[in-house]
Symmetry: C2
Subunit: 144 residues, 2 copies
């Protein structure tokens, strides 16, 4: 049975939550200031770019991004309308489709990384001593 959390657990949860929200806000603000789309667009573009030629099915992207199905459907809508992603026919499953990043999509991802990368460095990297980032990554991994 699951009982009440101890104080250390509560502090960890509150800290995790605040840290992530502050970092996200900082990063999103920098993207917006540079007239770039939100983080979720970057994440989608990056997953699709990593997937390469064969692309990804929407449900795969959904799992990779931890998105709700309906939100992913609409995100893909917007990105397709923006010319960043191509919806291709899926040979194996006629219910589905295959998503591929376009040239424009690749270009936008690069422009976003030019802002996103330094933002991560500023918001996370500069605040952690060497080795602490690894610790944080390891602890986070245990929660997934």
């Amino acid at each position: 049975m699951t009982c009440k959390p101890d104080d250390a657990t509560v502090s960890a949860w509150i800290g995790l939550s605040r840290a992530q929200r502050l970092a996200t806000a900082g990063i999103e603000a920098r993207l917006k200031a540079a007239d770039l789309p939100p983080l979720s667009w970057y994440d989608a573009l990056w997953e699709l770019e990593k997937a390469g030629e064969c692309g990804l099915r929407p449900f795969e992207l959904e799992k990779a991004l931890l998105f709700e199905q309906y939100n992913l459907s609409r995100l893909v809508d917007r990105m397709t309308r923006a010319g960043l992603v191509d919806r291709c026919v899926c040979p194996d499953d006629r219910r589905g489709q295959t998503l591929k990043i376009s040239g424009e999509g690749r270009a936008l991802r690069q422009r976003m990384w030019a802002v996103y990368g330094p933002a991560i460095a500023e918001v996370i990297g500069e605040r952690l001593a060497p080795g602490e980032a690894d610790q944080l990554a390891a602890l986070s991994a245990k929660l997934c």
Copy 2:
């Protein structure tokens, strides 16, 4: 100048983000399954309960919760309509108001904690060895 983040920093950021989102989703799902309002309501109620008799100004709550001003305004709206929070006149500043938790609000916070507490234990506590929670809290604090 801020340059590119190193790999450890990127891993820390991605891990932090995924861990927080998964944990949040798990906790919110449990609240919803118990027919309870979302986490933000709990957070607001808890801040107001901690503040005690003298209550809090909306802008103080805004800072405590890391909310946008307009979102806080509307959250308070909904919670007031639900009878959980009282808007009181603010003697010092006639532009503003003082927010106080109601009896109903206190009661709801308790009922929420009965779900929220175990949820934290399950999603965070059970996945971290003793001491790791403290480490995570300490690392998170460096990011704030």
